[in-house]
Amino acid sequence: MTKQATGVLATLGTLFALSAAAFAQDGEPIKMGVLEDQSGDFAVATIGKVHGIELAAEEINANGGIDGRPLELVTYDTQSDNRRYQEFMRRVLQRDKVDVVFAGFSSASREAYRPIVDQFDGLAFYNNQYEGGVCDANMIVTGAVPEQQFSTLIPYMVEKYGKNVYTIAADYNFGQISAEWVRDIVKENGGTMVGEEFIPLGVSQFSQTIQNIQKAKPDFLVTLLVGTAQASYYEQASSANVDLPMASSVNVGQGYEHKRFQPPSLANMYVTTNWIEEVDNPASKSFVEKWHKKFPDEPYINQEAENSYVAVYLYKQMVERAGSTDHDAIRKVIAEGDVCMDAPEGRVCIDPKSQHMSHTIYLAKVSEDHSISFPKVWDDIKPYWLGHVGCDLTKENPEAQYTPSDNPKKNDG
């Protein structure tokens, strides 16, 4: 049935067939699956990730590939639909037999495909900033995690603006867990939470929230809002003249709201990000230049785009050092603890215990006119929390996602 249906539609499909790049080089190509949302809700933030991977692959292939083997991309549009991740993760692993997969924007999509990666013992890169906690030997995470972003951001804000903090966060895993980090770090720094509010996903109307914030009179506000609907908060708060300093780990770096929104709705917003287009150093600048040469219409290069670009080079290094694409060999290389490179953001390394990445963390400040400045930069901030909570992938592989409720002592499995 499927076969026949497929046949019927084949003619139609070829009209739109995406030609996979073929490289006339020596050696069996190394296949890299790319599952990213090029349509649907998340496309705003993720089309750049695909471009980052394409840019890196092109550069690598132009320089002789990985160990003489060209890199071949197998790209599918996951349409911001978790089910497509499930379908295509199976497809790239079973049908296309890729050596590695770069996949996923939302945590939901990652959790949708992770069981499949584990089942087929594949290797997946998740190049996204997220709530943290994934302890799975088949996953490598290059995005920033809360301890990297909040251990830097919150103390700075408390010192600069005061001890009374109000958090509004998206009411789901990312928001809840991030809010918990904020709560803990505020306490450690002698501050108090004067309010905490969780906003259901998809909510776009914030009048009541704005009033609650004004009532609580915080010194600054932590916004952990997610999705395009919730982003409407800034415009609404600005028009109600809330006028509070804001701190965030998601905005600017991911959804480049400072470019999309009318100033001054994001004024006085502080964001910790591991890279954004405005970062002002030579490596970063030449990276941006290269990018715009290949993708002149790119509206903005966000941190996930850079993470994806960097991840391709990290993978190259791992394969070259391991001498093969074999996952066990690659994990052995990671376990050596010195998989590092000089990325546009600065030096980054893969932590062998958690297979997460260390970052240079930039504090981006949005001004009245939405221009960006960087009042502070932290070098080499490590993803320490998973190790702290007992994850050590060099020893065991629980294939789980830890949450702060696992915090005090978690040592089963």
């Binding site: 969780f198 109307q205 395009t228 415009e235 028009s239 100033p263």
Partner: protein
């Protein structure tokens, strides 16, 4: 004084929620109530209104004119769709659900392909004012006024204009209206166009306050559907009072227990209503109808 400012704040929140519900739902209610069609492309008409409005502002038109342009364009697109597609489905209202969903897919993805993943916003006009230490957005009052004005204008359209009277006649006894010289197929086009225009108006009004992305329509759809379910088919006897009741429930619960409670309140409202008033408020008010 404290009581007064509390009261003001509650009224403001309620009015804000009311405006959102009314403006989201009235286009859907017109098309559902008058034509019996569930328009799953409702969110995309909102999208159309928002994008056209924003583009018009960027081209230098003043916001009110731009919103008007957005409303008109959405209405015209609606009429066009009705002429080309929807009219073939009047005998099959259930199939029209599938078709409007298909249209919604085409529009959302088409917007992404043609206009990109996002459109820069224009900023909210009019600034803010302060009552008892709390800042309020002036534009929110504009929205509340717009909601009330929309209801008033709809009331005038349906009771005072020739189109409105013919539309109501067509809905009540279509073949007799036809036999009295009413071009009922034109009336259906215009009614669908009106529903689309109302969605466009909603999009235009909220465009300055929201992030503009191809999927933005979905932010309105759940509330719109819930309001129509609670209200039933008639816009004045159903949608408006339903929006008022839901606004009080939502604003009350939200200020008392937070956004989550407000959302759960909507769920409970739906369940209660289908249990007590299976045909919505409209059915309750028009119970004597056979």
């Amino acid at each position: 004084m404290d009581f007064l400012s509390g009261l003001f704040s509650f009224l403001y929140q309620t009015g804000d929620a009311f405006a959102f519900l009314v403006l989201s739902a009235c286009g859907l209610a017109v098309i559902f109530g008058m034509m019996g069609i569930i328009n799953l492309a409702h969110g995309e008409f909102i999208l159309c209104g928002a994008y056209v409005t924003t583009s018009a502002v960027r081209m230098g038109l003043p916001l009110p004119i731009a919103i008007l342009v957005g409303t008109l364009v959405a209405g015209l697109v609606g009429m066009l769709l009705e002429r080309v597609i929807i009219r073939h489905l009047y005998a099959r209202p259930l199939d029209s659900i599938v078709v409007t969903w298909g249209i919604s897919m085409i529009v959302t993805q088409g917007t992404l392909i043609i206009l990109g993943s996002t459109m820069p916003g224009t900023g909210t006009p009019f600034g803010s004012f302060t009552v008892a230490g709390y800042g309020y957005s002036v534009y929110r009052f504009v929205l509340m006024l717009a909601a009330v004005a929309t209801l008033a204008v709809l009331w005038l359209i349906f009771t005072r204009t020739r189109f409105g009277i013919l539309a109501r006649a067509t809905i009540q006894v279509p073949h007799i209206a036809e036999a009295l010289g009413v071009n009922t197929s034109l009336i259906y086009s215009l009614t669908f166009g009106l529903g689309a225009a109302l969605a466009g108006l909603c999009g235009g009004l909220y465009a300055p306050t929201m992030t503009l992305v191809p999927t933005m329509g979905s932010a309105f759809v759940v509330e719109a559907f819930v309001t129509v379910v609670v209200g039933g088919a008639d816009i004045f006897l159903g949608t408006a009072p339903a929006a008022a009741i839901l606004a009080v429930v939502k604003a009350g619960l939200t200020s008392w227990q937070g956004q989550l409670a407000g959302q759960i309140g909507l769920l409970v409202a739906v369940i209660v209503v289908i249990r007590i008033l299976p045909r919505g408020l409209t059915g309750f008010i028009l119970r004597e109808r056979t």
